[in-house]
């Protein structure tokens, strides 16, 4: 994406006529102060979590959660990594679900989008409407839930964590509008050479769609990584709990946490630092996203910008 700033430089030295830059100075003060405040509001909560995870439990109990680590302690992480069984299981579930869901989702989304992007396909508007209508009207939670649980018997299977989110009309539309921008001549010439549609899709269009694939892939991966809703509805088996849902359970349930630690072999005393431990878990569950964030951010920006163009 072309960011605002490369294209145009509104900050070019202003005209040197009389009331030079007074307005700009005032604007800069307002701008820097407001943006700094907003940025602080966005980053402080993260600081709160990290600092709390690194603070001595007794200090939290007395003084509340701190914004900066006071009475530095690694005890919470020590416990977490000493008895990691359940957390590790949740990690593995999440990684597996994210990988499977993202790959399958990308494949299905791009293949569908390719078909809809073919201008010589007579029924493409009919099919587009068939997909689009599902965003306007739905049967609601109950029939959908009953279908998955009572008819498809997906409860407590990995499928329940992967399948319901694998296709999304919005992603199909974004992918389709990207593919529509690929010159028709490429497809035409391949056709003349006798290539079939699937081959054209797999060999020609997919490689050309890398930017869109990267963007949609990351949106899918983020959605799967952060998903707890499908687990809330469909998972009761502890071995199938994804990370966010495990975190959700543990945050609301210290007894459960003690049990999990105990089953992992911890000698349970009342001294498990539950508050800082909760925060350490939060850090460990969110960490990979925060680490990947600087590298993938621009793809999300790209995706939002493609999506903002009405397709």
């Amino acid at each position: 994406m072309q960011t605002s700033t490369e294209r145009l430089n509104p900050r070019a030295p202003l005209h040197s006529r009389g009331r030079l830059q007074k307005d700009r100075l005032l604007f800069s003060v307002i701008g820097y102060v407001s943006l700094t405040l907003l940025a602080l509001l966005c980053v402080l909560p993260f600081l709160l979590v990290v600092s709390s995870s690194l603070t001595e439990e007794s200090t939290i109990i007395v003084k509340g959660y701190p914004f900066l680590p006071v009475d530095f302690s690694l005890e919470a992480y020590g416990i977490l990594f000493k008895y990691p069984t359940q957390m590790l299981k949740a990690y593995i579930v999440t990684i597996g679900v994210t990988a499977a869901g993202t790959l399958l989702g990308l494949f299905l989304t791009s293949m569908t989008a390719y078909a809809l992007s073919r201008k010589d396909f007579k029924w493409r508007n009919h099919f587009s409407f068939f997909f689009f209508f599902t965003t306007l009207f739905s049967g609601g939670l109950v029939p959908w839930y009953l279908l998955i649980v009572n008819y498809l018997h997906m409860k407590d299977t990995p499928l329940a964590l992967v399948i319901p989110m694998v296709l999304n009309v919005f992603y199909i539309i974004v992918m389709k509008s990207f593919m529509s921008s690929i010159p028709e001549a490429i497809v035409e010439s391949a056709k003349i050479d006798g290539a079939g549609d699937f081959l054209i899709y797999a060999r020609l269009i997919l490689p050309l769609s890398k930017p869109a694939l990267a963007t949609i892939g990351l949106f899918l991966a983020l959605a799967y990584w952060n998903d707890w809703y499908n687990a809330l509805l469909f998972v009761s088996n502890e071995n199938l709990m994804p990370l966010q849902y495990y975190l959700y359970k543990m945050l609301g349930n210290m007894d459960g946490m003690r049990k999990a630690m105990m089953s992992a072999g911890a000698v349970v005393t009342t001294t498990i630092p539950s508050e800082s431990l909760k925060m350490a878990m939060t850090v460990v569950a969110t960490g990979p996203i925060l680490l990947a964030y600087p590298f993938v951010q621009r793809y999300f920006v790209q995706g939002l910008t493609i999506g903002a163009v009405k397709g």
Binding site: G64, L146, Y229
Partner: protein, 306 residues
Amino acid sequence: MRLHQFLYDVKRYRTILLMLAPAVAFFLLFAYVPMAGIVIAFKHYDYAGGIFGSAWNGLANFRFFFESGDAWTVTRNTALYNIAFIAVNNFLQIFAAILLFEIGGKWFRKLTQSILFLPYFISWVVVGAIAYNLLNYDIGTVNALLRGLGLEPVDIYNTPSYWPFILVAVSAWKTLGYGTVMYLAAIAGIDTEMYEAAEIDGANIFQRIMKITLPNLYPTLIILVLLAVGNIFRGDFGMFYNMVGNNGILFSSTDVIDTFVFRSLITSNDIGMSAAAGVFQSVLGFATIMSVNYAVRKYDKDRALF
């Protein structure tokens, strides 16, 4: 003859049709079949009979839903929250986008944009945990500060009247970066010549923003607001559920249709009423989208959603 043409087309497009097949099957199964499943809202659900075999009970589920007194509360809450979100979020996003665009210092701008976008990436579970850290009575940061200042702590999780403000703030916090990026892209699309002309005419920066940037953002704003208005009866389940959970004390000011439907289904296992509430929501939502789109179409065809 028609059939012949149809069969010919099927043969001609067979690969494309095959490529569409998985997605068609997916939406048939997970979207259209549940639409047919709406019938359970008019039935007395029993597990033996299932969706289609249970006995009809007319409008009893709906009557129960509306007479419970919750229908009005959750519908009102859903709509009011969404209206507040639309107003506050768009205002803040446009504000931040304009500042980010105009302000100097590439480094500052990049860093700020990245930080504003950060909350978009974390799950609602984590947001709920952070909120609890900040707000809880015993060791929450807010109350620790209040105590430190010698003031009375506030019992936020037992006081419904604080929650509209908290939830609006949380929604603004989570969506600020996302929306800012959209508006930044829209600003970047504005014709540079307009700015140059304004500069020559001696417009100051505030005039430039009011007379050029803002009017040029209206099309984007209108589309985003229309999309949001169309979804005004859909509550953000993840947010409400993780912020409030099953804390019944707060429901009067925090319960939305989606959380109500979920609880009726999972907690109280009242399938009929839950389905009725869901159908009520779907129909209301569909009517809203269609009327919004119809109105826009009449006013300006190009701005219509479909």
